[in-house]
């Protein structure tokens, strides 16, 4: 009596196993559905977040240039917003529709490399990146095992932006060079109305987008000589990190910094005295502030003592999907995009980046374009200088998760005024839990 139902169960189990195996095999086998090949002509798909002007038309111009000179390897753009880039990349990859060429934030590089999404570049490409790009840019796109993810593209460093007029009105004609001065100037420049609403925020420690409180903190941490993560993604938080948290806590408690004011909106209207921000910001400040841009100054992010300075450097990279059927063609295109030089001897990518207010990560491009651009705008000098000493943002497999934990912990300090030692301990254990 009991053999019959068991036999039926066995059959059902077999059917279920076969169905699941088939479903899983199908999903595993179809890693890349991006590229196509007809009659010897290869079409590569290129997923990026350059979907808005002027970056979109700038990149389209370069791709059109490639397509017109390489009829056998055509490149087709796919763009999404930055907020959707990682999710799109994940979903398409899982669904077997991953693009052949990927533009990715270097922070995600370790995660993508660990899961086998990224193809390893050739020795020539890897050595070109290691030797000819600025140290911070090369570090940002190199994993803990030495794997290079791809060519560095968007490259940013962090500096202290300050409003010369607000500082002068408070009696200061120079930006702060250590933390004591930073606190003093922030306190003197902060102004509130009778209801307690901010008229001028002394120091902003937050920014738009995904980075929020993390990048200003990491810039101060580098200035103090500390790190967030070691090469394996474990917590590297120490007394130096505790001192930065303490600094931010004191600034928040004294009311000279707040997360309720977004500097991208208020700094241009002369309502923020100082802000730690990325280099890309300079372009939008010029556009928004017009004549008032003359009030803007930049300086290195100060360390605890005079003479100490630091910065965070982050980058994007363009790499090739390991599941692509046309990896060789993908690298061929990327090598052209990042190496082919124009009449001025600058790479197409370097020219494109500099034209959009970003630092060209290739040293030769920066050497040609840097002095020209700095001659036009002295505020670019601290930004270009920072490329030589900035700490590259970690790209360990758990870096994104660790950065999100850092942001939440900093918000506890800045918004909820939580005790620093408690937050410090819980952040370290959260990071190490991976």
């Amino acid at each position: 009596m009991r053999t019959f139902p068991f036999g039926r169960h066995n059959r059902l189990t077999t059917v279920a196993l076969v169905a699941s195996a088939a479903a899983l095999t199908l999903s595993a086998c179809s890693v890349s559905g991006g590229s196509g090949s007809t009659g010897g002509k290869v079409t590569l798909t290129f997923l990026s977040h350059y979907g808005q002007e002027p970056l979109k038309s700038g990149l389209t111009k370069l791709i059109d240039q490639w397509n017109s000179t390489h009829p056998d390897i055509q490149v087709k753009q796919q763009t999404v917003s930055f907020d959707d880039l990682l999710t799109t990349l994940n979903v398409r990859q899982t669904g077997g529709k991953g693009a052949d060429i990927l533009s990715s934030y270097a922070l995600w590089g370790g995660q993508l490399a660990a899961t086998g999404v990224l193809d390893k570049p050739s020795v020539d490409v890897a050595s070109d990146i290691k030797n000819n790009y600025s140290q911070a840019a090369a570090d940002a796109v190199t994993g803990d095992t030495g794997q290079v993810f791809g060519y560095p593209t968007e490259f940013n460093t962090y500096v202290l932006y300050y409003n010369k007029k607000i500082l002068a009105d408070a009696g200061y004609n120079k930006p702060p060079t250590n933390w004591a001065q930073l606190k003093e100037i922030a306190e003197k420049t902060t102004a509130k109305d009778s209801s307690g609403n901010y008229q001028i925020e002394g120091l902003s420690l937050i920014q738009d987008g995904d980075n929020q409180t993390a990048h200003p903190f990491l810039s101060l941490l580098d200035a103090a000589g500390g790190k967030l993560l070691d090469a394996k993604g474990n917590s590297a938080l120490d007394a130096k990190a505790m001192s930065v948290m303490q600094l931010e806590s004191e600034l928040a408690k004294s009311g000279v910094t707040t997360t309720s004011i977004m500097p991208t909106k208020t700094f241009p209207s002369n309502r923020v005295a100082m802000a730690i921000q990325a280099s890309w910001w300079i372009g939008s400040l010029k556009e928004q502030m017009k004549e008032d841009y003359a009030n803007v100054g930049t300086a290195p992010v100060p360390g605890p003592e005079a003479g100490e300075k630091g910065s965070l450097a982050y980058a994007f990279f363009t790499g090739v999907n390991s599941g692509s059927k046309h990896k060789k063609e993908g690298w061929e295109f990327l090598t052209w995009l990042n190496s082919a030089k124009n009449k001025e001897g600058v790479t197409e990518m370097g020219d494109f980046l500099a034209g959009n207010g970003l630092i060209p990560p290739r040293k030769a491009d920066a050497a040609i374009l840097g002095p020209k651009l700095q001659a036009k705008d002295a505020n670019l000098t601290p930004i270009y200088d920072a490329a030589s000493y900035a700490m590259a943002e970690s790209n360990a497999a758990n870096a994104y998760k660790a950065k999100t934990s850092l942001h939440n912990s900093l918000n506890e300090i800045l918004v909820n005024k939580a005790p620093v030692d408690q937050i410090f301990k819980s952040l370290a254990s959260e990071i190490n839990r991976k």
Binding site: A19, T87, Q111, S260, A397, N398, T404, N408, E430
Partner: protein, 323 residues
């Protein structure tokens, strides 16, 4: 009596055998049942296939993943790690138990209470109005609208310069940071969740109210009961099955809420105050590539929903709503 019954069965069976030409009396029904069984399974096959592919297999895969470490994409990289994911997420020094699970339960409780109370009030009011169909249609509209549209409209109304703060300012009340104050961000989103789900609940409760026998109200009226007494003594007890259904479905929807959170607060902020389990699962899987952790969280949420639903059913059965 028993012997007579047995004889009748035997006679009927032998007559059936004679008609169908079967020599062995016990094989005929067995073969027929098998044939019918096969036909039944054949008819069920499309539904079974659907459930197997989209429900059973993913469920087993999720259970397996919850005991593994996996970054996504490559199935050969799944590593079995036992209950480590569970011990990590259920650790009290982590963020999943508090604030994420606490937020999830508070959010569900607030949205359920507001939605059930609101829908009961609206259903009761509609019952006394003319053009009932129009009013039901009006309250059902948010159910048809997309969560993204609802979330964005409310987000604008909650802004410091938005409609609600404008009204408060007109009454000489200071602006409220509905979505920027960690203390009130979660209740602010729960209000929207409740508002958006009132329409469906109103339909169910209106149908429940209409099913109550009018003569019961007439008898109560003759006995001198006022409207309030009729509501407490008649409507509410007789509406209990409908209320239970609304309660359970709203509770599950509240515990699984995700889209509204991501639209209104984007990252579960400020300071994790609106981070709920479903949103954290999404972050773990699609942002951090921690599919094992995300699956363990999904299993934890499943157990919580299962227990809450069982408790609700048990409470209801004790109160006599079995039918």
């Amino acid at each position: 009596m028993t012997g007579l019954y047995a004889n009748t069965i035997r006679e009927t069976a032998s007559q059936l055998d004679a008609v169908m030409g079967l020599s062995a009396p016990s094989r005929a029904p067995s073969q027929r049942f098998r044939r019918e069984g096969r036909a039944g399974y054949l008819f069920l096959a499309p539904s079974l296939l659907f459930f197997t592919v989209f429900l059973i297999l993913p469920s087993f895969f999720a259970i397996f993943l919850s005991l593994s470490q996996w970054g996504g994409y490559d199935l050969t990289q799944i590593t079995f790690i036992g209950v480590k994911n569970y011990s990590d997420i259920l650790s009290f020094d982590g963020t999943f138990v508090s604030p994420i699970l606490v937020n999830t339960l508070v959010f569900a409780a607030l949205s359920v209470v507001l939605a059930v109370a609101g829908s009961l009030l609206v259903a009761q009011c509609i019952e006394r109005l003319r053009f009932q169909g129009f009013w039901r249609f009006l309250y059902f509209l948010p159910v048809v609208a997309t969560v993204v549209a609802i979330g964005n409209v409310w987000k604008m109304m909650y802004q410091p310069s938005g409609l609600i703060n404008g009204l408060l300012n007109a009454l000489h009340i200071n602006s409220v940071g509905f979505l920027s104050d960690p203390k009130i961000a979660l209740p602010s989103v729960a209000v929207v969740q409740a508002w958006a789900s009132i329409g469906a609940a109103v339909l169910i409760l209106t149908a429940g109210i209409k099913a109550i026998d009018r003569t019961v109200y007439e008898a109560a009226e003759i006995d001198g009961a006022n409207s309030w007494q009729s509501f407490w003594g008649i409507t509410l007890p007789l509406l209990r099955p409908s209320l239970l259904f609304v309660f359970i479905t709203q509770c599950i929807a509240g515990l699984q809420s995700f889209a509204l959170i991501i639209v209104m607060t984007k990252d579960g902020g400020p300071v994790n105050s609106t981070n709920v389990a479903a949103f954290e699962m999404y972050q773990q899987a699609f942002k951090f590539g921690a599919w094992g952790t995300a699956s363990a969280m999904a299993m934890a949420l499943f157990v919580i929903i299962f227990i809450i639903t069982l408790v609700q059913l048990w409470v209801s059965r004790r109160a006599g709503d079995d039918d």
